[in-house]
């Protein structure tokens, strides 16, 4: 979904109310009070006195606040005088919006901010076209630079905030209740960078690698922490039968160690080290947008075996394998099981992974970058 036109709110979906019931403000009832929304501010035409509806807005993130609704109470023509601009309740500071916080147990960061104000303009229903009224306005501004809001009913590739507010008049004639759904586009990483981390003895001689997700240049402070990345197999052979065509050059027919040809399908929580649950853990912080570790390499017994047995290694002094890895990301706002690729060659889509060895060294390869150590 593309969002264009900066800061322009677009009323897109459900405006659910009845125009037929409780039509207490019929045009025929001249000189009687009526409630009206402002022209150009997502006008709702002639709502009942106790309107209750859901308004959905697709807006851009950040920038200027978006005018959601503006209402006033006036006398129907020919009087055309303002009775009251009414007020929004509860107070803006007390409106319950959603949290956009990777710390889901004690969240503090709200998705956005609701504010009230006054604005002058014409009625959107066509009444009193020569009269300018003052309206009570409600605004929203998305503030969270993340995709943390969870909403199972959100449209694809959007992040949603939801809150309730009502507009009432002092004479208690009108009480218009709204549920506002605010959709902003989900943000995906532009790409990832990779850096070698270590050779942990517990899984020797595999190398570990850490990655940093790089936000799009349009939103450089975006925080993907708390999202989930997963590696996928982009294809390629899954079994070898002939040396000549096998990508794993250490392999030989009937070896006790099947060819090393593919990734294993790991998942990682962004912002954590060694958290493979896809649920952010504050105790395993790795820094903003960093994830790891990705373990790349053969098991020690595997290396020892091929050093003794591989004809290629015996003949040429080294052997190795490479294969592909496609990285994809899942935001909390995405449907379960939905992942989206990011990056380009060796920055996510598709990375070259591999492992090679000589009689004295092993090499771990990620994103085409080799790192070699003497082993054992």
């Amino acid at each position: 979904m593309r969002y264009s036109g900066a800061y322009v709110a677009v009323l897109v979906a459900a405006v659910t109310f009845s125009l037929t019931t409780l039509e207490r403000t019929a045009r025929a009832s001249e000189a009687k009070p009526a409630a009206g929304s402002m022209m150009g501010a997502n006008t709702i035409l002639r709502p009942p006195a106790n309107f209750s509806g859901t308004l959905t807005f697709n807006i851009n993130r950040y920038g200027k606040r978006t005018l959601l609704q503006a209402w006033t109470e006036y006398l129907l023509p020919p009087a055309c005088t303002q009775v009251s601009m009414g007020e929004w309740k509860p107070p803006a500071a007390n409106i319950v919006t959603k949290y956009c916080d990777k710390n889901t147990t004690s969240p503090t960061m709200k998705c956005g901010k609701v504010t009230f104000g006054t604005i002058t303009g014409k009625l959107g229903n066509g009444d009193c076209p020569d009269t300018t009224f003052t309206f009570a306005a409600i605004y929203y501004k998305w503030e969270a630079h993340n995709n943390q809001s969870v909403n199972a009913s959100a449209p694809p590739n959007t992040v949603t905030d939801t809150f309730n507010a009502r507009w009432t008049t002092p004479d208690k004639l009108f009480r218009e209740a709204f549920t506002f759904n605010i959709n902003v586009p989900v943000v995906r990483p532009d790409h990832e960078t990779t850096a070698f981390a270590s050779w942990p003895p517990a899984v020797a001689p595999r190398g570990t690698w850490t990655q940093t997700l790089v936000p799009p240049s349009s939103d450089p402070t975006f925080d993907f922490s708390g999202e989930c990345v997963q590696e996928f197999n982009p294809g390629g052979p899954t079994i070898c039968t002939l040396r000549a065509t096998c990508p794993d050059k250490c392999w030989f027919p009937a070896t006790t160690h099947p060819a090393f040809l593919k990734i294993s399908g790991g998942t990682w929580a962004v912002g954590n080290f060694d958290n493979y649950t896809c649920v952010f853990d504050n105790t395993k912080s790795a820094g903003t947008n960093i994830w790891g570790y990705d373990y790349v390499g053969r098991a020690g017994g595997n290396v020892t075996y091929y050093r003794a047995q591989s004809p290629t290694l015996k003949n040429t002094g080294s052997c190795g394998t490479t294969f592909g890895q496609r990285m994809e990301i899942h935001a909390p706002s995405d449907p379960a099981g939905s992942f989206t690729p990011y990056g380009n060659t060796n920055t996510g889509n598709i990375n070259t992974l591999g492992a090679s060895e000589t009689l004295t060294t092993v090499t771990s390869i990620r994103a085409g970058v080799p790192m070699t150590e003497t082993w054992p």
Binding site: R206, A254, H257, G265, Y276, Y295, G297, Q309, S310, P311
Partner: protein
């Protein structure tokens, strides 16, 4: 031959390996043929691919020259070893020696067979071709296991085999990664049997990312491994193959992910 080929439902043919499924669509029996250095393991892989079953496999030791071939300079089937003295010489020269294997053909009970019936048919056919009971099918708690019962001994006669994964071990229950558990199992078998069992090709990230508290006292290594496989269930859908190395006389425990079949 032509009609046979026309009835082929699936044929894969390479220089070193052949697998074919022959039979009519519907309820008629299907004949599976494989050619491989480890034909029983290869046939199990084919059934895994076709039906999504997870059946584990354990090699018997290979020690008789007639069971061994040299693939140092060629692809399988390589150069067959002709005598005990030649085998000794090849081993001394550090040649790349592997199981000779061969062809295995078996008929599935139906086009939609049950796992036990299919694996039993496979093993029965192989055993008949070798004139013995080389393998047996063992029903575990949640998996079928094809385990060795006999091997061709150095004298050329069939000898009983004690499957190395029947080794009784003790693993202290504590939370660890699945990777660490498998490593511990291999180590405990190696110590108990004085035969090295190493971790082979495994899905590293997947195993490192899986936590388990499995352990047990006086249990077979197979049952502890099976407990892990069952515990991780369809989420990981793992299986294993334990392969014996002719040259180093060591085992490699390979863990693989079995893709679901739609």
């Amino acid at each position: 031959m032509l009609s046979t080929m026309m009835r082929a439902r699936h044929v894969m043919l390479t220089m070193g390996l052949m697998v074919s499924f022959l039979g009519n669509a519907g309820a008629s029996p299907i004949t599976v043929t494989v050619q491989d250095s480890r034909p029983v393991a290869r046939a199990i892989e084919e059934l895994e691919t076709r039906y999504g079953w997870r059946t584990t496999y354990e090699d018997p030791p290979y020690s008789h020259y007639s069971d061994i071939t040299d693939v140092t300079n060629t692809d399988w089937p390589g150069t067959t070893v002709q005598s005990p003295s030649q085998l000794q010489s090849l081993q001394g020269n550090k040649r790349t020696l592997v199981p000779k294997g061969g062809s295995l053909s078996f008929t599935l009970p139906s086009a939609d067979p049950d796992e036990l019936g299919a694996v039993q048919a496979l093993v029965k056919s192989y055993n008949a071709s070798r004139g013995g009971n080389i393998f047996a099918v063992v029903q575990g708690v949640g998996l079928l296991h094809v385990v060795p019962r006999q091997m061709m001994g150095p004298s050329g006669t069939l000898e009983p085999v004690e499957p190395i994964l029947d080794t009784v071990i003790t693993i202290k229950p504590r939370e660890r990664t699945a990777y660490a558990l498998i490593e511990e199992i291999c180590k405990k078998i190696s110590i108990a049997t004085n035969t090295k069992v190493d971790m082979g090709t495994v899905p590293t990230n997947m195993l490192i990312q899986t936590k388990t508290s499995i352990g047990g006292s006086g249990k077979s290594a197979r049952s502890i491994l099976e407990q892990l496989i069952v515990e991780t269930g369809t989420r990981l859908s793992l299986s294993w193959e334990l392969f014996y190395g002719v040259y180093d006389k060591e085992y490699a425990l390979n863990i693989s992910w079995v893709a679901p079949v739609n």
